[in-house]
Amino acid sequence: MTMAGHNRTGLRRVRVYGVLIALLGVMMFPFYAMFSSTFKPESEIFSAPATLVPSDPSVGAYLDVWTQTDVVLWVANSFVISLGTVVLTLLLAIPAAYSCARNDFVGKRTFLLAVLVVQMFAPVVLIVGLFDVITQLGLFNTYLAVIIPAAAFTLPFNIWMLYGYFKTVPVELEESARIDGASQFQILTKIVLPLTKPALVASITYTFLYAWNRLLFVLTFLTDSGKYNIPRGVFSMVGALQTDWRMMLTVSVIGIIPLLVLFAFLEQYIVAGMTAGAVKE
């Protein structure tokens, strides 16, 4: 390669990094605004123009939300709702996906397409009818009122994702296990599921995130503030006339910390899941 060629690739690298860092800066700024504001004293938050770096950083806001809001309860509720949704979704999705991957039966194509269509039917256009159903079932103001709809709308992705993975597990493995006397349940739990671990992790992560992040169901079906999840808790702090921004942003930071931890560990599975969900191979 010539000198000029070297210079050109070098220049290109600089440009690529430059653009990426600039874009990252733009995408990260809201996080920075949120984090830095939580370390400002009240007087600095409510001063114009906004400062980039807290002049006198303190963790006062964190101590205040600890004592003055239900943030701990909201985080706990988010866990209850998310884990409940994950369990319910997997209990329904694993058998259905496995059945479709292993058998040819009349109605399979219809079932899988119907599932795909459910994914199109966003909860909010169903919310009026769903409200009627939840009330009639007497589930209003219970965790189940949130878990059930969330599971219904995460089920399609889970069924398709697991269906795709189950198909890749060689039938021969299952047959030899059957000859060795393993039961159907043992084959599923000891052979198939361990082999589809990446898909399971992606499923669980997707479902957990979905349930953790959703405001709509909690807003509509839970009136008891003791059952609020994090988004609902944050929303409840938006005042009609005045909003305590310092406290609200602090609760927001606390509400996303579990997600950041999840992201740090499971990034590759999340990407795999997103990609599998939307783009065919």
Binding site: L23, L24, F121, L126, D132, T220, A264
Partner: protein, 312 residues
């Protein structure tokens, strides 16, 4: 009984017995999908029917007695000014939002595709906005756009664009743009990651051949990247269109549909009318109209998805 009838009868019978045999043979398969199927029918199928039914009734907010009114809700909606304003506002919201997410996502993906150090870090960092609660992103953007204490005003003041703080979300003319920005920020990571996956599946030798032919980078993008990425872009923008169309949490948290309903979209109106005002019938009628739009998107999506017909 004629011979023909005799034949058709046995034919019918054998078909029935065949079906029964099929059911028996696949009993376990049906047994395994039954829970999911029943669950979806109950939680999604039934509410769809219930929405259709409700849309034909009027339920006064102060009582539970329903009166059958037929298509009256639909007639009133189609004859109302608010409906056309909602269509315009929804269209504007979807179009600008999806365009923003697509372009920004493409820009990020094209640069992430390069063989650079720390790609995993960049990828994770770019993904984070997509993974946090929309309601939280919405309050953060509300904070950034705060008329007195927000960062946006601080920057604009510093640059001398404005000489006095402006309240974007309180201004009926530009409030929707203030919300779109947040929505684009949230939706861009998904596009970027999907496009990145698409870019990585383009054969590298296409670029090498083009480079030998002396094609400039822009031409490579225009004549290799874009055509190769076409189906991925189509799929992602369709999905994004659906999600943007039904987006609720962001608008609800940032403006609640205001000021004077200028940021309201069709789905925001469904919620306001059906649940906030308790007019279930009218809300249901709006929902059915929302279904029709989604159905349209879904048909297009399914056609694209099952093109080739070898997916199932």
């Amino acid at each position: 009984m004629s011979l023909a009838e005799e034949y058709s009868k046995t034919d019918g019978e054998s078909r029935l017995s065949q079906s029964i045999a099929h059911l028996k043979q696949n009993r376990r398969a049906y047994f395994l999908i039954a829970p999911a199927a029943v669950f979806l029918l109950a939680v999604v199928g039934y509410p769809i029917l219930e929405t259709f039914r409700l849309s034909l009734y009027r339920s006064p907010a102060d009582s539970t007695i329903e009166t059958f009114v037929g298509l009256q809700h639909y007639v009133e909606i189609v004859n109302s000014d608010i409906f056309y304003r909602l269509l315009w506002q929804t269209g504007r919201w979807v179009l600008v939002g999806v365009a923003g997410k697509t372009l920004l996502g493409l820009l990020i993906a094209v640069h992430l595709k390069n063989d650079i150090q720390g790609r995993k870090f960049f990828r994770t960092a770019f993904l984070i906005p997509w993974g946090i609660p929309y309601a939280i992103s919405a309050v953060v953007f509300r904070w950034i756009e705060h008329p007195q204490f927000g960062y946006l005003n601080a920057v604009l003041l510093k640059l001398g664009v404005i000489d006095q703080g402006i309240g974007i979300l309180g201004n009926p003319d530009i409030a929707w743009l203030g919300v779109v920005v947040a929505d684009v920020w949230i939706g861009t990571p998904f596009m970027a990651i999907i496009f990145l996956a698409g870019l990585q599946s383009i054969p590298q030798d296409l670029y090498e051949a083009a480079a030998i032919d002396g094609a400039e980078r822009w031409h490579q993008f225009r004549y290799i990247t874009l055509p190769q990425l076409k189906s991925v872009i189509l799929m992602a923008t369709l999905l994004s269109t659906i999600w943007t169309f039904v987006s609720f949490d962001v608008i609800w948290t940032m403006t609640g549909g205001g000021p004077i309903s200028t940021t309201a979209t069709l789905v925001i109106h469904i919620y306001q009318v059906g649940l906030q005002n308790g007019n279930l019938g009218r809300g249901a009628a709006y929902s059915v109209i929302g279904f029709l739009f989604l159905l349209l998107f879904a048909i297009v999506y399914l056609r694209v998805y099952t093109r080739g017909g070898d997916e199932l």
